[in-house]
C-alpha cells in the first residue's frame, strides 16, 4: 500500500511517499481503509522531532493520526462495527491507504457527513471539546476569551462554548475577523490593532491557542487560563493574580 513515511526527524522534505507492506491486525483491532486524513500540528511536531523525548518514534514512521474512511477488516473480539461501515477517529499512521485502529478511538460517521469533514474533527474537535467542556467547564453566562479563535481548534472551541451558553471573546486578524463575526463571537479583537488587555474586561476563563506571551498577559486579567502552548520561562516572570493554569497537550 501507499503511505507517507519518515526515516529520520527533519523538515518536510523527510516525508516520502512509499510502497509499504500490507498491515495485519491483532485481537481487538480494526483495519480501516482511509479516505481522508486530517493534517494536525502534532504531525509536523513529531516529524521535526520536537516530541522525541516524550514520544520516541520507531522508524520508518507512517505519519498522521486523524482519519475518516471505512472498516476493511475486523480483528477477533472486535464488536460494534462491520466491514464497510463509515467511521472516523484516531489511528496510527493515517497518511496511508490503510491504518490499524482500536474500536475505543473510532466512531460511526453520520450518514450525511462527508469524509473530509469527518477527517477534520478527531484531534481539533476532541481538543476543543475537552478544553471547553472539561477543563474550562463552560456554562451559561461564563465569559470565555479565546486566543486564536479562528484556527482549527479555536473555531470549534468558539462554537462549542456558544452551544453551552458561554459568550465568547475571540482574537484573530485579517479576514478571520469577519469569520469570527459570522460564528457569533460577541467581541472580536484584532490582535494586530489592539492589545486585548486594553479592551477586554475580566474574562472568567482564557483559552490560549497562540502561545508566546499571550498566556502571561492573560493571567493578569483572568482567574483561570488554559494553554496548548507552554511558555513557562516568560510566564513565571509575570504571575500576578493568576490562580489556576492548565497546560493542555495532545
Amino acid at each position: 500500500m501507499k503511505a507517507i513515511r519518515i526515516r529520520e526527524y527533519g523538515d518536510a522534505s523527510t516525508l516520502k511517499l512509499e510502497d509499504t507492506p500490507q498491515l495485519t491486525i491483532e485481537h481487538d483491532q480494526l483495519l480501516v481503509k482511509i479516505r481522508d486524513a486530517g493534517v494536525n500540528p502534532i504531525d509536523w511536531k513529531i516529524r521535526a522531532g520536537y516530541l522525541k523525548e516524550r514520544m520516541p518514534s520507531a522508524f520508518p514512521l507512517t505519519m498522521g493520526q486523524d482519519f475518516a474512511g471505512e472498516v476493511a477488516e475486523l480483528g477477533h473480539g472486535t464488536s460494534g462495527f462491520a466491514p464497510g461501515d463509515r467511521v472516523f477517529g484516531f489511528a496510527q499512521g493515517t497518511y496511508a491507504e490503510y491504518a490499524v485502529a482500536q474500536s475505543s478511538t473510532i466512531a460511526a460517521m453520520p450518514e450525511s457527513m462527508a469524509f473530509d469533514v469527518a477527517a477534520s474533527l478527531p484531534t481539533p474537535g476532541s481538543t476543543a471539546l475537552q478544553l471547553v467542556r472539561d477543563v474550562v467547564g463552560a456554562k451559561a453566562g461564563m465569559r470565555i476569551l479565546i486566543h486564536g479563535a479562528a484556527g482549527s481548534v479555536g473555531s470549534l472551541a468558539v462554537q462549542i462554548a456558544k452551544h453551552l451558553g458561554a459568550p465568547v471573546i475571540g482574537t484573530a486578524t485579517g479576514p478571520d475577523i469577519s469569520y469570527l463575526r459570522i460564528l457569533g463571537v460577541e467581541e472580536v479583537i484584532d490582535y494586530k490593532l489592539e492589545r486585548f488587555e486594553d479592551s477586554v474586561s475580566e474574562a472568567d476563563a482564557v483559552i490560549d491557542l497562540v502561545g508566546g506571551d499571550t498566556l502571561a498577559r492573560s493571567l493578569r486579567s483572568s482567574r483561570k487560563a488554559v494553554s496548548s502552548r507552554l511558555p513557562w520561562d516568560r510566564l513565571m516572570k509575570r504571575p500576578r493574580s493568576a490562580r489556576a493554569f492548565a497546560p493542555f497537550t495532545w
Binding site: G69, M113, S120, S126, V135, R229, W232, A244, F245
Partner: protein, 74 residues
C-alpha cells in the same frame, strides 16, 4: 513544548494541572452529533492528494491555510 516548573508555579501562586487530550470514542460521537445537527461547522481549508503531504504539512506549519488541511487518500 516546555515543561512545567511546579516549584516556580507554586511560588507564583499558580495552581497547575496538566491535561492531555483523550482519544475517546464518546467524544467523537458527541462531535459527530454537533456537526450533523448543524450546531458546529468545521472550517475546511485546502484538500490535497496524499502525494502532496509535504505541501500539506508546510501549509499547516506556516499557518497559511484558512481552515483545516486535509489529505485525500482515496
Amino acid at each position: 513544548m516546555g515543561q512545567i516548573n511546579e516549584a516556580a508555579a507554586q511560588r507564583a501562586g499558580i495552581r497547575t494541572v496538566h491535561v492531555v487530550m483523550k482519544r475517546d470514542a464518546a467524544d467523537l460521537v458527541e462531535l459527530a452529533k454537533l456537526v450533523d445537527s448543524g450546531t458546529v461547522k468545521s472550517r475546511l481549508g485546502q484538500t490535497l492528494p496524499l502525494a502532496q503531504a509535504r505541501e500539506a504539512q508546510e501549509l499547516n506549519e506556516k499557518g497559511q491555510a484558512a481552515g483545516k488541511v486535509v489529505l485525500k487518500v482515496a
